[in-house]
């Protein structure tokens, strides 16, 4: 049987597809075009948007009843490739990325994540072309204002969040510096959610700056050098009390490296997820699945750490589960099936 073109398109290359125009193809094409119209129309309807939001809210509510990560971090990579792929100018790609970050922040906040950090600009990024650095700076400034405005508007879902810009602020222009100070000042009372934007940031710079701070403290006699410890150094880092640990680090666009980000936080006890999606394409569902995965494994981990509690014991002594099954590792030797009967040639057996 011959398949209509729409379905065959995956197997046949484009040129041969075009040439054949049978009646069947015409009909299916017509139908697809028509249904596309309806789909677009459906999407534009207010009710479907509302339904989608409702569904999303339910999903979030479901997830927030389980364990959720405390600190989620993003490496927002792939904006330029996204622009290239969809034929836009570089600036649009970065803008799309900024939008994605804001919408994901909203989702994270509702799920119950208390801190999100994002790698917006690396110190190494100053090596890019001046135009692009300029674009990024202006875009950053406008996003800053937008976020600050939304964080104090109590009707907005982002209300009550604190914004912190961390990194080597001395590298940015004066104009932007005042903007940053302003935004931090306006949002400083936010308690339930913190967004850290790492702007001119590298992790080595972060560690270095904390070291310098401590050395200066030692010099001012406020601290004795033999009292220096890891927690003290951690406290002095940019991310305040989230400096010690990052539960979930997500890097988009497929590179398998950390690129000088969150090294101190991530080198121990952190889940690092690499995905090949470009950052602007990284949407709520993808984030949702990742957090679900984290939550799933955390549930298992916590269960085994807690050991078997009394409640569980009562619960699992129900008839349909074999009680005699030993919990915990048993030796391989004991678990082997019984060998056949041992019998010598004289016929004696050890029974």
């Amino acid at each position: 049987m011959k398949l209509p073109n729409v379905f065959r398109s995956r197997f046949v290359d484009y040129a041969t597809r075009r040439n054949k125009s049978t009646k069947l193809n015409a009909i299916t094409n017509y139908l697809v075009e028509k249904s596309k119209l309806y789909i677009v129309w459906l999407q534009e309807l207010k009710i479907s948007i509302k339904l989608y939001q409702k569904l999303q809210n339910i999903c979030i509510a479901v997830l927030s009843t389980g364990p959720v990560p405390e600190h989620v971090s993003f490496i927002m990579d792939g904006n330029r490739r996204y622009a290239k792929k969809s034929g836009l100018v570089v600036k649009k790609g970065h803008e799309a990325g900024g939008l994605t970050l804001l919408s994901l922040c909203y989702a994270c906040k509702k799920i119950g994540v208390s801190c999100v950090s994002a790698y917006a600009f690396s110190i190494e990024n100053f090596n890019r072309s001046p135009q692009e650095v300029d674009i990024l700076m202006t875009l950053f400034g406008s996003k800053l204002d937008e976020f600050a405005k939304r964080a104090v508007n109590f009707q907005d879902p982002l209300y009550g969040s604190r914004l912190r810009i961390v990194g080597d602020i001395s590298l940015v222009s004066k104009d932007l510096k005042t903007k940053i100070e302003n935004a931090e000042e306006v949002t400083k009372d936010g308690k339930d959610f913190t967004l850290y934007i790492c702007f001119p940031y590298t992790s080595r710079n972060d560690i270095f700056h904390a070291m310098c701070d401590l050395i200066a403290k030692c010099q001012n006699q406020t601290l004795e050098s033999k009292n220096l410890t890891i927690p003290l150094l951690t406290e002095d880092m940019y991310l305040d009390n989230f400096s010690n640990k990052c539960d979930l680090l997500i890097r988009t666009s497929g590179h398998m490296r950390l690129s000088d980000y969150m090294l101190w936080q991530v080198h121990e006890n952190a889940d690092i997820v690499f995905t090949s999606t470009l950052w602007p394409d990284f949407d709520f569902t993808k984030l949702y699945v990742m957090i679900l995965k984290w939550s799933f494994f955390t549930t298992l981990q916590r269960y085994s750490e807690r050991g078997v509690t009394l409640k569980d014991r009562i619960l699992f002594n129900t008839p349909f589960i074999n009680r005699s099954r030993p919990i915990g590792p048993s030796s391989v030797y004991d678990s082997l099936p019984k060998p056949p009967i041992a019998m010598s040639i004289t016929g004696e057996t050890d029974s």
Binding site: T65, G66, E124, S203, I207, S225, L300, L315, R325, S331
Partner: protein, 337 residues
Amino acid sequence: MGTFESKGAMRRTAPPEASVMNGTEGKYSKLKALQALIGSLFSGKSDAGESLGNEENKTFWKKQKSKIQYSIYKVLLVTLYLVYGCYRYCQYEWNKMKIRMLNIIYNPSNTPQLIRQDVTKLEKIPKRLAAILEMKSESHVGGGSQGLMNDGSEIVCWTVSAGIKHLVLYDYDGVLKKNVQDFRKDIRNKLSKYFGTSHIPKYAVRIPHLNKIYFNDKDSSSTENHKVAIEISLLSNRDGRETIVDLTRTMADLCASKELKLGDITMSLVDKELVHLVGPEPDLLLYFGPCLDLQGFPPWHIRLTELHWEEDNHDVIYSVFIRGLQKYATCKINVGK
């Protein structure tokens, strides 16, 4: 041997997925997982975690859930968990099959020629290679410190055959460091298996933390020809955060005694010191576990390092090694651009 680390002073906490997938046999079985999931139905939010702030903020658009609503959501969540668990199980089996196939495709069978043949096809190889090793429990096949040393020496042989000059072996507790004499013998035995007993490539084992270098199998006193085919550095958790704090302390002392000015401390100075104390940054980091877990690998040194691991793989196998090199050959590093 010197006493440099109190044994097992700290228990490492692994990230959730790694700890579950890496759990020794019997610790996490399917039944156990099911128990945990159903158990989580009855555990309240309070012991489910210390996720703060959820109860306190009741802005008007964020209503507090009622009890019934909460339990419905909880049931839904467990259903989602179950669905995900089934999916993950299928994925696990699939990955296992993939690894088995890869093992058939890439089989070095102790021949350096075959390994070199695989490597010469590549465009570039890393200058420095690092590997995170993990001690499996004694009861496991290939577990204990013996198994760890065996794995380590195997990687040394592959690295020598591939023509890479520097290798960093990391294990959290520093077992390799403590048993460095045995490890050197192990390397020797393995290398003789690969290259024949009469032409064992020269190697040096370095312990940066103790500032010691051992050449070949003999004692370090022999200062003959020090050109080696491979230099192996042994690192442990001690070389991570703690070394950075040590460095800070030393610098603070130097500043206090006016030998160093605060303004003289720069990034490059810190970097230089850390390279001296721990070693240079590796180009490629291999992890032979089921799910990426950096286990406290020195944080300063993983800045641009490419990471490679094979999902759901539990053993130190050649296919992970060669696939890591293949991936490295195709990746392009552009700092900041």
